[in-house]
């Protein structure tokens, strides 16, 4: 089977890319291993930041619905419940679908499989009740199941703090947020919502142990200095869930398998594929976008997806040069806007490094 464009991963980046490329006339196949596309959008019940062009002020779940609708309208072929098991020479994509493996030969491939939550090692981390913040978020916002009544959140970045807030909304008690650094990582406005609700932040602290026999019953936290637990500062409290939100890493197994050059970019989650200014990697015709191309957030993921979609449509001959330049510039301006300020600057610089290295490969 042959397809012009195969997009792997139907999250914000994949959906936005599919719409952009299909609108220009490209034949697009979007593959997602879940029962419905949208990636993490459908568990984002909070209103998004950004500008009007980024759907700011709209809840992630509604942005997802809107993108799905557009995907259908512009004729993107969508394979759900279909897992890509590997990328092979000559841009062959092997897909496990309806109980059998089919091979699709693509002219262009966009890999946007998102990110994976980082684990943390501490005594008891394998007990039931210790879970990634993302898993807890899926439970409350998608499955409508409360993972527990008393939750300790480890990590004060946006993910930890947003999920903590949503756990409160779902009726759980968040007993505290532990952060190894001496300052809060999340946007202040997110942190402020939790502080108003009475949730304490333990800065310069870490999780020292999860206690319990069958499942988590207690959490021990302790002061954390120079990468070490300060002995004698341990504090214990009763919890039934410990959520881990210590960052994400790009999921780029498929890119690695396809021979895409990787580099270690700590600001964007560690080992990640290098790409050029149009999201194309050193392997011609293979593109990356979204968290796979460095962990940021959903708005940048969507714009990176659009950028890849435009580049792909252009190289396939569906878009004239001038139109392409104009579209790319609009998107790049929006991406720049998202990477301003004290939070965005690090990512902006890191991303510039990725592109410089990617173009040098």
């Amino acid at each position: 089977m042959k397809k012009e464009v195969v997009i792997i991963g139907g999250g914000p980046a994949g959906l936005a890319a599919a719409i952009e490329a299909a609108k220009c006339g490209a034949q697009v196949l979007l593959i997602d291993e879940n029962k419905r596309p949208g990636g993490q959008l459908f568990k984002q019940i909070h209103k998004f930041f950004g500008s009007k062009a980024h759907n700011a002020g709209i809840r992630g779940i509604d942005i997802g619905r809107q993108l799905l609708k557009e995907t259908e309208e512009c004729g993107v072929e969508v394979w759900l419940d279909s897992a890509v098991i590997g990328l092979f020479a000559d841009k062959k994509v092997a897909v496990l679908r309806n109980g059998t493996t089919v091979t699709v030969e693509a002219e262009k491939i966009l890999i946007c499989t998102g990110g994976a939550e980082n684990p943390l090692r501490f005594p008891g981390w394998t007990l039931p009740g210790v879970m990634g913040a993302g898993a807890a978020q899926t439970m409350i916002n998608v499955n409508r199941v409360l993972p527990g009544k008393r939750v300790l959140m480890v990590g004060s970045g946006n993910v930890g703090v947003i999920v903590a807030y949503q756990l409160l909304q779902a009726g759980a008690n968040v007993v505290g947020i532990v952060e190894g650094m001496p300052k809060i990582g999340a946007y202040g406005v997110h942190a402020a919502k939790l502080r108003r609700a009475g949730v304490p932040f333990f800065l310069g602290h870490t999780i020292a142990e999860a206690k319990g026999t069958e499942k988590v019953e207690k959490a021990v936290i302790a002061k954390f200095e120079n990468g070490q637990i300060v002995k004698g500062t341990e504090l214990e409290t009763e919890v039934d869930v410990i959520c881990i939100a210590v960052g994400l890493r790009p999921l780029s197994e498929l890119a690695q398998m396809a021979g895409v050059q990787h580099d270690f970019i700590p600001e964007l989650g560690g080992w990640m594929p290098l790409h050029d200014g149009d999201m194309e990697t050193n392997v011609p015709g293979i593109y990356v976008a979204g968290d796979t191309a460095g962990v940021e957030e959903a708005n940048t993921a969507m714009d990176e997806g659009r950028l890849a979609g435009v580049s792909i449509a252009h190289t396939l001959g569906y878009l004239k040069d001038e139109e392409t330049v104009q579209k790319k510039n609009e998107i790049k301006d929006r991406l720049n806007a998202l990477r301003q300020g004290p939070f965005g600057e690090r990512r902006l610089n890191a991303k510039q490094r990725v592109i410089e290295k990617g173009e040098a490969v």
Partner: protein, 388 residues
């Protein structure tokens, strides 16, 4: 003046590690050099079968048997757990023609001191109850076994180090000069001086050979393997198909009843249970340069062929595929010998038998360097046979 080693071994796979170990045992001052880690090349991308059953009756079988016989003692000698298990192996016979050939093969092998026996339909199904119902017979080899190939290489290398050998890992060899009787090996980290050099670089041995002006006719041949999840016992020991060996030995005259996909990719059914209750499925062969990526069609053919013999695998998960480069020689026999360059030895080209043949290879190279008579005539393994 820097230290002068008695022996510098280049290549820390199973073969090079063994050569290091046996030379060290004989009191030599040995250094083992590798561009990467111990077992980083072929030895970490192979299966762990220690077989005599797939050898040609004659020298091939005897040499393999001598190596196999060393494993029980090795699993005691080496500190690292090499997971040696000697459960025998089973060839599956698919057709009447195969049964007939197997009977003669069995007799020939017995003459070489290798114990084999034909299992009839009832016996073979009692032996492996999950076998496809229509399989008419089997051929059992009593002495075959398996190891953890990476563990074997670590076992040799780490024990050799304990006995005084030096390991110089992650240190690529850049060039070799000869000054009088001494070799100066230029590596990324330093210059190493040695009286003897053993080229154990497997697939990469031609590059090392070229450094002393030797043309080594070894080519990389790619083989792919599937790894299954930890699960129930599908088969208790190594099981493989006899038909493929026939296509190998009697090139052209025997044709297996297989699909085009299996035929096209040279896929033969090889099942190997691991000590961790996974199992490995092989095998495929193709010349693809140094490419060790997997091919989806080969993976599919491997799965298809495996299910033909054990339909029960249908619902077992595959967790990984890998592929490695086997050092191939034109006559399928390794080069284990001295060379026209005095003091320069080659122990490479074992193709798919490097793990199994590593102990005897290490031992005979140590004998050669010490000036001792080898235990048998090793001329079939000489480098000279390739000099026109």
């Amino acid at each position: 003046m820097s230290k002068i080693y008695d022996v510098a071994v280049i290549g820390a796979g199973a073969v090079g590690s063994s050569v290091t170990y046996y030379n060290t045992l004989r009191g030599a001052d040995v250094i083992l050099i590798d561009k990467g880690d111990i077992a980083e090349g072929t030895s970490s991308k192979s299966d762990g079968n220690i077989l005599v059953c797939d050898k040609m009756p004659g020298f091939d079988a005897k040499f393999a048997k001598a190596s196999q016989d060393m494993f029980p003692a090795l699993s005691e000698e080496l500190d690292y757990e090499i997971e040696w298990r000697q459960k025998g192996s089973l060839y599956l016979l698919e057709t009447e023609e195969e049964i007939e050939i197997a009977k003669g093969f069995c007799e020939d092998m017995k003459k070489c001191g290798i114990e084999m026996r034909i299992l009839n339909k009832q016996e073979v199904h009692e032996d492996e109850p999950l076998l496809a119902e229509d399989i008419p017979a089997g051929l059992e080899t009593i002495s075959d076994g398996s190891v953890y190939p990476i563990g074997l290489a670590y076992g040799f290398a780490l024990k050799a180090e304990k006995l005084g050998a030096e390991l110089s890992l992650h240190n690529p060899v850049k060039g070799i000069d000869k000054e009088g009787d001494l070799f100066i090996i230029h590596t990324e980290n330093e210059d190493i001086t040695a009286k003897n050099v053993v080229n154990c670089a497997g697939v990469w041995s031609p590059v090392i050979g070229e450094m002393v002006g030797l043309d080594i006719p070894i080519q990389a041949r790619q083989g792919q393997i599937l790894v299954a999840e930890q699960t129930f016992q599908v088969a208790r020991r190594k099981v493989h198909e006899f038909g493929y060996m026939l296509t190998k030995f009697q090139s052209g005259t025997y044709k297996r009843p297989v699909s085009e996909r299996v035929e096209r990719n040279g896929v033969a059914f090889v099942f190997e249970p691991t000590a961790a209750n996974n199992f490995l499925i092989g095998s495929s062969r193709k010349f693809a340069g140094e490419d060790i990526s997997n091919d989806i069609e080969v993976m599919q053919a491997l799965a298809e062929r495996a299910m033909r013999f054990f339909p029960v695998m249908e619902n077992i998960k595959i967790i990984r595929a890998y592929s490695g480069l086997r050092p191939y020689t034109p006559d399928h026999m390794p080069i284990v010998s001295g060379t026209p360059v005095p003091g320069f030895y080659i122990a490479a080209g074992h193709e798919g038998d490097g793990i199994g043949l590593s102990p005897i290879t290490g031992k005979v190279i140590a004998d050669m360097i010490a000036g001792d008579e080898p235990f048998m005539d090793l001329s079939p393994l000489s480098y000279d046979r390739f000099i026109k």
